[in-house]
């Protein structure tokens, strides 16, 4: 029983560690959805591009790691800005399905772009200082420092986001746009700028998540964004897509689910992805608005 208890405590920390990363990616998803009602399927690939930017900023431009990470976050924000401007803005008034298909197309484009430019061979992301992987002992559980950093960063960014949304003018405009774009525009707000800001923020979050992810699983490759992106999407749906706190709760819930399923039923470990999808289907069937029900579509 003693062994079982230790394993359980260790698994709780394992869950927090994985869930924090899912939460961070899910926040970017949910922001864009909340404002544009667009499921940005390219989000996982923006996450991938962010890690490549960090990798090359440090290995090719010899920046110190903190500057490299900062540059990567800024460039990824710029990438999000360009994607919105080139791919999504021309379709803003088109049927929603067109934007959705464009998002999937953008996802394929970014993956192929990465294969051509960065190469299809996985690269080792050993560009961060070693203290990030230091181990902290709590009882008999061993937790990498990175786990605490991930959780800390997730909540820090959540606070920043909350401050932007509720304490600044642009945040007010964002919330207004999420309700009604034409009316906001009539009030004199510059809709284009605000939507761009949303994409920049969401993409920058993806870059932060990408860098933390790559420090935990130090392998960078063009398709690395696919699975985490999909999982984060599920996390966002569980929490209630469009809701920031929902994304965070959903991320941690999914992390717990995945780790605990394996912890309690080791023989099912090879199929753990299945459980994430089963939860997605169940949520969509029984509570499509997720845990934090904030949007209910009204038909006029």
């Amino acid at each position: 029983m003693d062994i079982g208890l230790n394993a359980l405590i260790q698994n709780i920390f394992n869950s927090l560690s994985l869930g924090g990363l899912y939460a961070l990616i899910a926040v970017g998803y949910t922001m864009v959805y909340g404002i544009l009602r667009l499921i940005n399927f390219a989000h996982g690939d923006i996450f991938m591009m962010g890690t490549y930017f960090a990798f090359y900023a440090i290995t090719a431009f010899f920046l110190p790691w903190y500057l490299g990470f900062l540059m990567a976050i800024l460039i990824t924000g710029l990438l999000g800005f360009s994607i919105e401007k080139i791919a999504y803005r021309p379709l803003r008034n088109a049927p929603r399905i067109s934007s959705l298909i464009t998002a999937i197309g953008m996802s394929f484009f970014l993956e192929s772009f990465a294969v051509v430019v960065f190469g299809g061979i996985p690269k080792s992301f050993n560009v961060y200082p070693k203290f990030f992987s230091d181990i902290i002992l709590i009882g008999q559980s061993r937790i990498p420092l990175l786990t605490f950093i991930t959780i800390g960063v997730t909540f820090f960014l959540f606070l920043i986001l909350w401050w932007i949304l509720y304490k600044t003018k642009i945040g007010l405009a964002m919330r207004a746009i999420s309700v009604d774009i034409p009316a906001t525009s009539l009030m004199g707000a510059n809709v284009n700028n605000i939507i761009s800001t949303t994409f920049v923020l969401g993409s920058a979050f993806a870059a932060v998540a990408g860098i933390l992810w790559a420090m935990k699983y130090p392998q960078v490759q063009p398709y690395m964004g696919f699975t985490p992106g999909l999982k984060a999407f599920i996390a966002a749906v569980i929490g209630g897509i469009g809701s920031i706190q929902g994304a965070i709760v959903g991320g941690f819930l999914l992390g717990f689910l995945e780790i605990m399923i394996v912890g309690f039923f080791p023989s099912l470990a090879g199929y753990r992805d299945v459980f994430a999808y089963v939860v997605l289907i169940a949520i969509l069937m029984f509570r499509p608005t997720g845990i934090f029900k904030i949007y209910s579509e009204q038909k006029v």
Binding site: A7, Q10, N14, G120, P122, R142, P218, P266, G270
Partner: protein
């Protein structure tokens, strides 16, 4: 008049292209050049290219290699093999590396009667019941046996946590063969599972380590082995790892760093111990060309090409069916990884080497004969 001229021109060009086509022997190469296990494809290709440079002709004709990228994917492997046969009209195909990918492409090669010669797919099912699918490497019942014996005799292990990649036939098979021989010798195993592409193994490792295993046996491929080794060390595991031939790639060390020190793996070849004369020549030529020492997969790629070439030579024709018969009657062919004899079941019988990662280097430990 003009039309007739153009038409004549086109016909002349077509005839010319046929004439050129007649002067070369086209061999297809289906390898995972990008994606999860791209390092395998790159290494095999190095060996194939070197072999092609050293032996560029067969039956007095130039050999033309047509490379197709399977993107480390089963569906894409089948597409590539189909494309090589139907579009490029190759007389034989070298590839794939991963057993699952070779198995996905094999039915197509069987259908069109084109010999498919894998350099490194070790799962027994790859050639089972097949006529046109063969390989130049040993198979997993032997590899699993070697690992089990090594774990018990050399590592003095009484218990093992066995990690299986459920998405890879190679891993499922190899784990089973290891478990069979390890438990037959009185060992205890704790089974754990994962899937190609997984990055987080903390839950499985937490479960495995709660049993305090003497050794962790991972039968999958290097990308997951690297991440798993790193996470196992973070969770406090200090014992040895044991793996199959899917472990050897530069990325294993680049990604896992010092975590894989103390990882032993069964393999086909070690550059420190070439067993044949051509093996020594291969190591020298390889180091001259690539400025690094050759991996087991490069050696297998080299042998794969040579066995195919030798078969075409003995068949005395470029008829794929005759080439296939010649491949399956290869006897004591001197290759880099040993003397290769391919039976009518399409499998080669060879000795295995065990290597250890010491300070990031793949170091020779011992050779085990069948």
């Amino acid at each position: 008049m003009k039309k007739v001229l153009i038409l004549t021109g086109i016909i002349a060009m077509l005839l010319a292209s046929f004439a050129i086509a007649d002067d070369v022997v086209k061999i297809g190469v289906a390898l995972p050049m990008t994606g999860n296990i791209s390092s395998f494809g790159q290494m095999v290709w190095q060996g194939v290219e070197l072999a092609n440079e050293m032996f560029p002709t067969v039956l007095g004709k130039k050999v033309e290699l047509v490379l197709g990228d399977t993107r480390s994917d089963k569906t894409e492997a089948a597409n590539v093999i189909s494309r090589l046969i139907n579009l490029n009209n190759v007389v034989g195909i070298l590839g794939e590396v991963a057993s699952s990918n070779t198995m996905a492409g094999a039915p197509i090669a069987e259908k069109y009667h084109i010999p498919l010669l894998s350099p490194a797919s070790t799962n027994p099912l790859v050639t089972q019941g097949k006529t046109y699918t063969s390989r130049v490497c040993f198979i997993d019942p032997f590899q699993g046996h070697v690992a089990a014996v090594f774990a018990i005799k050399n590592l003095k292990a009484k218990s093992a946590a066995v990690f299986t990649d459920v998405a890879q036939d190679y891993s499922v098979g190899l784990s089973n063969f290891f478990i069979k021989d390890f438990t037959a010798a009185g060992g205890v195993v704790y089974k754990e599972y994962y899937q190609s592409g997984d990055q987080d193994f903390s839950a499985q490792l937490t479960d495995a380590l709660s049993h305090n295993p003497d050794v962790i046996y991972i039968s999958g491929y290097y990308p997951e082995i690297a991440l798993m080794a790193k996470q196992a060390r973070q969770l406090g595991y200090k014992g040895p790892f044991l793996a199959g031939d899917g472990a050897e790639a530069p990325e294993l060390v680049q990604i896992a760093g010092s975590a894989v020190n103390g990882l032993y793996y069964t393999s086909h070849f070690n550059a420190e111990h070439p067993v044949t004369k051509i093996g020594q020549e291969f190591v020298a030529k390889f180091e001259e060309k690539y400025h690094t020492s050759p991996s087991a997969l490069a050696a297998l790629g080299f042998d794969d090409y040579l066995v195919m070439l030798n078969a075409i030579e003995r068949a005395g024709s470029t008829d794929p069916v005759k080439i296939n018969e010649a491949i399956r009657s290869t006897k004591n062919f001197e290759g880099v990884t040993g003397y290769i004899t391919i039976g009518s079941d399409g499998n080669a019988v060879k000795s295995a080497v065990i290597n250890e990662v010491v300070n990031g280097q793949f170091t020779y430990v011992t050779t085990i004969n069948p």
